[in-house]
């Protein structure tokens, strides 16, 4: 009735108002959280904003009238925290990509499970709620949730080394995968027409799980930055879809923020490799490898021992270090820090040039180097470091390959032609720490190694940098 101010007359309790208020404040805090993350000086404030938002949202939910099973809720909270805290505290920084993939898979799983539960609840008790739109979104949410679950598990397996990180391919793969997705969509549409077909729902789940697995299995390790970003986007989108099903705007907003974040990162990663989404997902890299290896021939390179390399570094005025995934594999970040200290103490200007796709996830190298206490203002992006390289005395490449290959600039026939690279070949001297002469992930020979100014430093990155540190320290006395 107009003019009524008693909220209970409108069927709204104080608790419900409080819940809604907590949700809207949480949504605002999530946006602020991401805004504050834009710069390292405010980033930790962003984390706190996110945490407060999350606590508010949880508290608001627990106030809802029909929540009863508090013992179960507390128990699951406890189990979740008991698993989550050790992961966060003990996980080494080199394993951050694995943890990220694993958390995408948990996120996808949770969304899939909620979708499943909602479907069975509504089909049994409130079939009128399963309108065409709701059923459609529910099917979308469930497919996306479960495929993110298995897809991210596969990504985790590859990053953890449980599964081979080489692409696993077979003939007709794309046809099988797309066919499977198509069947899943058809099942989803059928359920949309007749939601009461409860036996079809498990089929939908099974197809989504299988599709997620088969989609990621053929993707190689070097494409992981894009794949992780894409899975991040899926996890967010599925949470957003869940918000549509549950008519919860907080879920829609938080999911959309995550979804757009993952999407932006995937675009950045794709641009940094000069490849398209379809190319990454349905990749051509398996075919490229063979062609490229045929082109490789026996040529000689110049190599040097740690002592020689150390004296070149110590005599330089400016050094740019270009790290890659090999640095993470060798766990060389702390030795690199020692090298940084030794050289800086001698007045050498040391900077790091970070390619967007260096490592296995966006920003991977920055986190590793920050872990080793290298100040972040020495870590420069590709676009910032490239103009400096022509005036740089020594470029030291550690565990990176394709992102330094000048063929990307010059050789139109090269599979990586057009990919933006770090122009280490423009420095006065290039030194490359590498285990052997084997080609990089893409199997493309690197012209850089045969240049006159290039010096190959063969060995394990951690051991070799350690030797150089010792040599410089000895020379200093």
């Amino acid at each position: 009735m107009p003019g009524t101010h008693d909220p209970s007359a409108l069927g709204v309790s104080v608790q419900q108002v409080l819940t809604q208020v907590s949700y809207i404040v949480a949504a605002a805090l999530f946006v602020l959280s991401l805004k504050w993350l834009s710069s390292p000086t405010t980033a930790r404030r962003g984390v706190i904003a996110g945490e407060v938002g999350m606590v508010l949202a949880i508290a608001g939910t627990l106030m809802l009238p029909h929540i009863e099973a508090f013992h179960w809720i507390l128990l699951t909270f406890f189990v979740g925290a008991a698993v989550g805290i050790p992961i966060a505290v003990l996980m080494p920084m080199t394993a951050v990509p694995q943890r990220t993939a694993l958390s995408h898979s948990f996120g996808g799983l949770a969304v899939g499970l909620v979708g499943t539960a909602k479907y069975y609840l509504w089909v049994a008790d409130e079939p009128h709620r399963l309108t065409h739109f709701v059923m459609g979104v529910l099917a979308f949410e469930t497919i996306l949730g479960y495929l993110t679950f298995t897809g991210s598990l596969m990504a985790f397996g590859k990053l953890q080394g449980i599964l081979p990180s080489r692409p696993i391919t077979y003939r007709g793969q794309n046809v099988v995968n797309l066919g499977m997705l198509l069947v899943a969509i058809v099942v989803g549409v059928y359920l949309n027409v007749d939601p009461s077909q409860t036996t079809l729902f498990p089929v939908l789940i099974g197809l989504a799980l299988a599709f997620g697995t088969l989609l990621i299995i053929p993707i190689g390790g070097a494409d992981m930055p894009t794949v992780i970003s894409l899975l991040n986007s899926y996890a967010g989108l599925s949470a957003s879809a869940m918000g549509f099903v549950l008519e919860n705007k907080l879920l829609i907003i938080a999911g959309a923020l995550d979804g757009s974040s993952g999407f932006i990162l995937s675009i950045i990663m794709c641009k940094a490799m000069n490849r398209s989404f379809t190319n990454v997902l349905f990749g051509a890299f398996g075919a490229v490898q063979q062609k490229a290896i045929e082109g490789a021939e026996e040529r000689t390179v110049r190599s040097a021992q740690p002592e020689e390399a150390a004296s070149i570094l110590a005599a330089a005025q400016s050094v740019v270090v270009v790290p890659g995934y090999g640095l993470a594999v060798a766990q060389a970040q702390h030795k690199v820090r020692e090298l940084y200290d030794q050289l800086t103490r001698r007045g050498v200007d040391v900077k790091f040039g970070i390619h967007p796709v260096a490592g296995r996830m966006p920003g991977h190298m920055n986190v590793l180097l920050a872990e080793a206490d290298i100040p972040y203002d020495s870590l420069l992006e590709m676009d910032e470091i490239n103009p400096e390289l022509p005036h740089t005395d020594v470029a030291l490449v550690i565990g990176a390959n394709d992102v330094t290959n000048p063929a990307a600039r010059t050789d139109q026939s090269s599979p990586i032609y057009g990919m933006p690279i770090i122009d280490v070949d423009k420095a006065r001297t290039v030194m490359v720490i590498k285990r052997s002469m084997s080609a990089g992930f893409a199997g493309i020979p690197n012209e850089l190694y045969y240049m006159d100014k290039a010096l190959m430093l063969f060995g394990d990155a951690k051991a070799f940098v350690g030797e150089m540190v010792k040599a410089i320290a000895a020379e200093g006395r």
Binding site: H66, W72, A81, G84, I85, G107, D258, G363, A370
Partner: protein, 101 residues
């Protein structure tokens, strides 16, 4: 229908806002960005709590319990590891002669 339309508007605006905000995040922090958004999207916890809390059938209670556990792992580990990473990012010591000098 009204609800649906307003939800679509919310989704649209949140997506655009997300693009604008996240575009400004420095590549330096892309890894913490991903773990933070991951923790935030574990807001699906809210939906899971409702399923579990209502305790309607055995099936949905089990599904809800699994979903709450999975989301809670993400919330806790996501926020904690983001903070752990961010604590590592330090600026160069002012005009330092290297560290520990």
């Amino acid at each position: 229908m009204d609800m649906l339309m307003s939800n679509l508007y919310v989704f649209l605006l949140a997506t655009f806002l997300g693009f604008e905000v996240i575009r400004r995040v420095t590549p330096l922090l892309h890894t913490p960005l991903m773990s933070l958004t991951n923790a935030i999207s574990a807001i699906s916890l809210v939906g899971s709590i409702v399923i579990l809390g209502e305790q309607r059938t055995t099936l949905t209670t089990v599904l809800g319990a699994l979903a709450v556990t999975a989301s809670m792992i993400n919330v806790v580990s996501g926020f904690l590891i983001t903070d752990r990473m961010l604590r590592m990012f330090k600026q160069r010591a002012p005009q330092g002669k290297g560290k520990g000098a």
